[in-house]
Symmetry: C2
């Protein structure tokens, strides 16, 4: 079971820069209210919790079809539709494409160079394309879908549809409509579940099964942590403690940046998954905590200086791993060299753990708050726990702030301006806005 | 030539949330002083500017040796010793390991799982290892060097040294000493040049040459931008304008987060390179700007909500690309589907550029400052420009703050605690500190 150690957030360790038990007790009203909203499923978007009990047989069937028929598996999706699958892929199957088939490519942009490279690298005759968009109309995803559809049609003609899997709303949207008309295999994202809360839906689970990870094991992990994250009593609920502490650190100590620092290369994409969830859910109405994706030990040589001696605007969230599933002992080389020989005989895992613990402590000693999530092992079960833990913690924290943690109204303006520039009907006014802005924008150039 | 458009930082566009010409003029004293420090090379660390005029023949010779003798090229380094090479690799040769030899692996951590994977994947008999550490004693790098040395010695015996290239101080440190003793080919990082300013030294240039990029072309780009970045007159110097605006936005508008958003997948690692440079150089004495690594269009679906509607604590720095070196036109697929067909006939590059421009504008329209660096093409010449532009801008900004942009005193404490835990002689007191802290740390767990 993952575990949260928050000693380095508390006044017992940090002194006056820490949070006191009393401060948390004083929030009991708000905490209770947030709990009630979750328990009563006040928001339809809390449907992400129901994912834990889903039947995965369709996912498994389609995954088998993909494995049996593909050397390459190409995901088209952006935001939550890409970050979740990539987090699973890189955590559980690092260096996947150099070791396993089907290889996995995740195209989550409209960078032409990237897509050209992917098209050069994959053998389309043996590629299955998973198009993931809840709404069915995400511009970036649809653009690449149109390109891939055209390419596949050149090869397979009317049988092109067999090379696609659509992951989308069960009823609505363009992708669902096309899937129905063309007979494309499809999986459903339940209506209430938003993109950034969708990793435990077919969005993430199909990829998992395709690369040989048991989706049920991920869900079992999520269910086990859910028990603990359903506790009404704050002191027994790690997700509530996590959210409450970061809320207090921001509201009362003005610490508006939350750095997430896993000590495992495979969690780099997981950090980015968390950052979308935290940023997009909480950043609205002038509120918001800025999540920062980091990586230990690497960023000790990049960011730590700023965390130690920069402005007191951060909380660090360490992710510590017990079992790396293998180890290497530093051998007896250069024994004669002082300043190197102290490393001899230590396992790499003990060095990385020592660095993690040292960094925690170094921060705490200068009054910089941090907490640690301890992860027994990087596997399907614990990935499920991590995903769900952060899902509940994020929704809960949104409720503490009194905001809607499920919408993203702030991205509409940019989308509409893009529609205008692309000549979409009905967006002529937006096109004019862009043209007017261009004149002004040319004033300061160097 | 790269170009900086800073209209969306100025009051002409942003109104009262923008910077006025007058505010910049008022800083002329500080700006002049910073310029004098750079021009007079007041700090020995400004030696990074001399890199632009270096002779690359040794680098080219060693790179040829690597190419002629290797299927795999493994870099051991951390911080600037890894971020610079990786930024070059991913910008100029995306998907490199699926397309080219020698493949490149950059091990910049002590994660045992990653190293085990690398050792499984490479053929050590045909691998050259580039060990990069300026000081010659970076724990993470030395640990992996010891492991690789031992592995190579098992295969090559006393000829193991031929499989290594050391990139380090010309005279000092353990790595230089070992290179001299064992006859390891070596390249020098000039004494004044710190890790995060070292990308245009052999640290980055050897990797460039190994993958077939002309180091001289990178340096030519850097020299060309250096001319512009040497201008004493602020209004003609893009590096000074860049630094001055971000300084003013922080000092006078409390915007302490600088998000860097390239619109090209290949620049993702470049973002991280910039983040080290900016964070470690400026984060000290309670000052500091937190650089945030982002990526367009991808993060429009992850972070944009927070930038648009979250706290007004950010400035976005867009990186826009003119020529992606290839393109794909969105074909006529699903013509009948309203909400998709507006995309038909547009090139992917025009979509990604429209999204970039729309995002800039959407932010500016709600008073959120941003600027744009325009990059004609992603190639060696312009990479050189980008690296050097940010190097000068960072040193300059440090001088505006009145701090030393070249040291990193805040990372020592963590290092010393790690030495203590690893049993290094002379660090017994640190070990005790850790043990005492452990008792306290066990109080809050869930």
């Amino acid at each position: 079971m993952i575990e949260l150690n928050f000693s380095n957030m508390m006044e017992e360790v940090l002194g006056e820069k820490g949070i006191s038990e009393r401060q948390i007790e004083a929030l009991r009203g708000k905490i209770g209210d947030a709990h009630t909203q979750i328990k009563a499923r006040t928001w339809p978007e809390l449907a992400f919790i129901d994912l834990l009990y889903q039947d995965t047989s369709d996912i498994k069937k389609i995954a088998k079809y993909v494995r049996d028929n593909s050397d390459d598996f190409l995901i088209l999706g952006i935001g939550g539709s890409a970050l979740g699958p990539r987090a699973i892929l890189e955590a559980i199957s690092p260096f996947h494409n150099l070791k396993h088939k089907p290889r996995v490519f995740i195209y989550d942009n409209v960078d032409p160079r990237t897509l050209k490279n992917i098209l050069l690298l994959v053998d389309l005759k043996k590629t299955t394309v998973n198009v993931i968009t809840k709404s069915g109309s995400t511009a970036e995803t649809i653009a690449s879908f149109m390109i891939l559809w055209d390419e596949m049609a050149k090869i397979f003609g009317s049988k092109a549809s067999e090379r696609f899997i659509a992951t989308t709303d069960p009823d609505k949207g363009n992708l669902r409509r096309i899937a129905n008309e063309k007979g494309i295999r499809a999986l459903s994202i339940p209506p209430g579940v938003g993109g950034r809360y969708s990793v435990l839906s077919p969005v993430g689970l199909l990829l998992a099964e395709v690369i040989g990870i048991d989706a049920d094991e991920i869900l079992r992990g999520a269910r086990d942590i859910h028990e603990r994250c359903s506790e009404p009593e704050i002191w027994k609920n790690p997700a509530y403690v996590f959210g409450t502490l970061l809320y207090l650190m921001e509201r009362e100590e003005k610490r508006n940046i939350n750095v997430i620092v896993p000590y495992a290369d495979g969690f780099k994409s997981f950090s980015e998954w968390f950052c979308q969830l935290w940023a997009e859910s909480l950043g609205k109405l002038g509120f918001g905590l800025t999540p920062y994706p980091s990586l230990g030990t690497t960023d000790q040589h990049s960011q730590l200086q700023l965390w130690m001696e920069g402005p007191e605007d951060k909380v660090a969230i360490f992710m510590r791993v017990d079992d790396y599933g293998g180890d290497i002992v530093i051998p007896n080389a250069f024994e004669e060299v002082e300043g190197m020989n102290y490393l001899i005989g230590h396992a790499l895992s003990s060095l990385i753990k020592a660095e993690e613990e040292s960094t925690e402590l170094a921060l705490a000693r200068v009054g910089r708050p941090n907490m640690t999530i301890n992860i027994p092992k990087i596997d399907a079960y614990h990935m499920g726990q991590l995903f769900h833990f952060f899902g509940v913690a994020t929704a809960f924290t949104g409720f503490l702030y009194g905001i809607n943690p499920f919408n993203q109204p702030g991205v509409e303006e940019g989308k509409n301006l893009t529609y205008g520039m692309m000549g979409r009907k009905g967006y002529e006014a937006e096109r004019e806005k862009v043209e007017r802005a261009r004149e002004k924008k040319s004033c300061w150039k160097i």
